[in-house]
């Protein structure tokens, strides 16, 4: 089994290390790319050597210059030899990802961003995700459980469920909501959360949902970490295309985030 695939471009002059991470641009190959429901796919690719943190993401592309920018996709699962991504087809880039097949080349830049500060967490933690904010929380739940933290998952869907089974091994409870009521609670996933019961809440998903979570946590005095989405060009902190205003000044979602303490956010 080939674990490390270095492309022709991997002839680097030097390697730089950051907290044991080596961010790299490399070519990998698709292990599988499965449609799991509706417009949701799971893409598995050979990973690079770098240690990756839950909540980090990669910039991906499966094209040359037909599209200009790479696309940010979070780590869904970091397996020993593979990186798994779970994505929704929404536009031209994810459409192309959905056409990928076993053995085809794909370029990755990463791991990017800070990831969740899991090392600092103890006790009982809730992960709360909505839509394609759900995938990054899976690796997060696993990492937390592996360090002895008790995790509850709150997963909000519009209609069809996905990824639920992937959370079960790492969570005490998995609470489900759907907007259509097809399964679980009918309504919003935030209806289910009681932040006071947790030492921290980690959330990812639509901004309105995260704002609600942050407000609830604030009221309950629970630490809350939000993983933000922003349009990105470079993905590594150089272009300032993803900057947001925070209480601590301008921050780059791709480099200083995507995970921010809700306290620091201005929304």
């Amino acid at each position: 089994m080939i674990i490390f695939l270095f492309s022709q471009f991997d002839c680097l002059d030097k390697l730089f290390q950051h907290k044991n991470q080596i961010m790299r641009y490399f070519e990998s190959k698709v292990v599988s790319n499965e449609q799991i429901t509706g417009d949701i796919f799971v893409l598995r690719v050979f990973r690079n050597q770098a240690e990756a943190r839950p909540g980090q993401f990669y910039m991906l592309k499966s094209w040359d210059t037909e599209l200009t920018l790479m696309r940010p996709i979070s780590i869904f699962k970091a397996e020993p030899e593979e990186m798994w991504f779970m994505y929704r087809v929404v536009g031209a880039g994810t459409q192309r990802f959905s056409e990928l097949q076993l053995g085809l080349p794909i370029k990755l830049l990463g791991p990017c961003g800070n990831g969740y500060p899991y090392e600092e967490l103890k006790g009982k933690v809730a992960v709360l995700g909505g839509g394609v904010g759900i995938p990054p929380l899976c690796e997060t739940a696993k990492t937390l459980k592996n360090q002895g933290v008790s995790v509850d998952a709150f997963l909000g869907f519009k209609d069809e469920l996905f990824a639920v089974e992937d959370f079960k091994p790492w969570c005490e409870n998995v609470y489900i909501s759907t907007e259509t009521g097809i399964e679980g609670h009918k309504g919003f996933v935030t209806d289910l959360l009681k932040p006071g019961q947790y030492d921290a809440v980690l959330t990812c998903g639509p901004e309105v949902m995260m704002r609600k979570v942050a407000a609830m946590c604030k009221e309950a005095g629970t630490t809350c970490y939000c993983s933000l989405e922003h349009r990105m060009a470079c993905g590594i902190g150089a272009c300032l295309g993803c900057s947001i205003r925070t209480k601590n000044g301008m921050k780059r979602v791709c480099k200083d985030g995507p995970v921010f303490n809700a306290e620091d956010l201005l929304w």
Partner: protein
């Protein structure tokens, strides 16, 4: 392979090769330096500075278009002072040509900023005249040749460093603009900056950008950029640094054959973060294949 000479001179400054990272797309070099040795490039033009620093624009800042992208970063930067205190030392580590790119919204800002940078350890000042001029009603310095002439003349007085003026393709007449800047004392010209453009979110029925218009860059604009570089090179005597949609070594040769002394690469860094390095390697190979022993030989063959 090693026998190809890629070194070029722009306004007395020697570059080991003609590939320069374009302002605003490469930060101060350190992020890309995590991926490859950015010191291999001929030079780096810093993120666009303003005298007092800026937070930049609100809302969406980047947007993909057919073979290009639009940006509305709005010159987010830490300010000239901070750059002098920290940015320069950081960029100096790379060992290549250090270009400070600076913009401004008023004549005073330009003059003060330029004189501070003139006394700092930079190799070249790249003056971005595309910013809206607050005093003249938001019309950019880079649109009317007469406005540009004034700012370049004043900056020239306080700037002892080689002065490169970066032209906007939105200028009313790019050749007149180039001539005005040359006459006002520019040692070199660089072009093009981004094209004023627009995108609409039809679902929201609103412009994508808070500022309505934003700047278009990337491969889409290359043919227009090349034409502008060509017509400026035909008309000025100072060296011209060409840019706009350069993605490959072939593109680099096109710009040099059109008369450019060197080139800058911007958007391509986002498409492929190793682009600078790859274009450089390809350029050596391409020169060998095309029988070019010295890149300076073919400059302006299409003029």
């Amino acid at each position: 392979m090693e026998n190809v000479n890629l070194s070029v001179k722009v306004a007395g400054v020697s570059f080991k090769n003609p590939i320069i990272a374009a302002s605003g797309t490469f930060g101060f070099g350190d992020e890309y330096n995590e991926l490859y040795n950015v010191g291999c490039l001929g030079g780096i033009s810093s993120k666009g500075l303003t005298l007092h620093g800026k937070d930049g624009n609100e809302g969406i800042r980047v947007w993909e278009t057919a073979s290009g992208m639009m940006n509305s970063v709005g010159l987010q930067n830490p300010g000239v002072e901070h750059f002098i205190q920290e940015g320069i030392a950081q960029m100096r580590r790379f060992g290549n040509v250090l270009i400070a790119n600076m913009g401004g919204h008023s004549m005073d800002d330009y003059i003060t900023g330029a004189s501070m940078l003139s006394n700092a350890d930079i190799d070249m000042l790249e003056l971005n005249i595309s910013c809206p001029n607050v005093k003249s009603g938001g019309m950019a310095f880079g649109i009317k040749a007469e406005v540009a002439r004034e700012v370049v003349k004043e900056v020239r007085k306080v700037c002892a460093k080689p002065l490169m003026v970066k032209l906007s393709p939105n200028a009313e007449n790019i050749v007149d603009m180039a001539l005005a800047c040359e006459e006002a004392g520019a040692d070199a010209l660089s072009l093009v900056n981004t094209f004023q453009a627009m995108a609409i979110d039809i679902h929201k029925r609103k412009p994508v950008f808070n500022n309505v218009y934003a700047g278009l860059s990337g491969a889409a604009i290359k043919p227009i950029a090349l034409r502008m570089v060509h017509s400026v090179c035909k008309n000025v005597k100072v060296p011209v640094v060409g840019m706009g949609g350069i993605y490959t070594a072939e593109d680099v040769l096109e710009f040099i054959m059109a008369g450019a002394q060197a080139v800058q690469i911007g958007t391509v860094n986002f498409n492929n973060p190793l682009a600078g390095r790859i274009i450089l390697d390809d350029l050596v190979r391409l020169c060998v294949k095309e029988g070019i022993a010295d890149i300076n030989e073919i400059r302006g063959v299409c003029l």
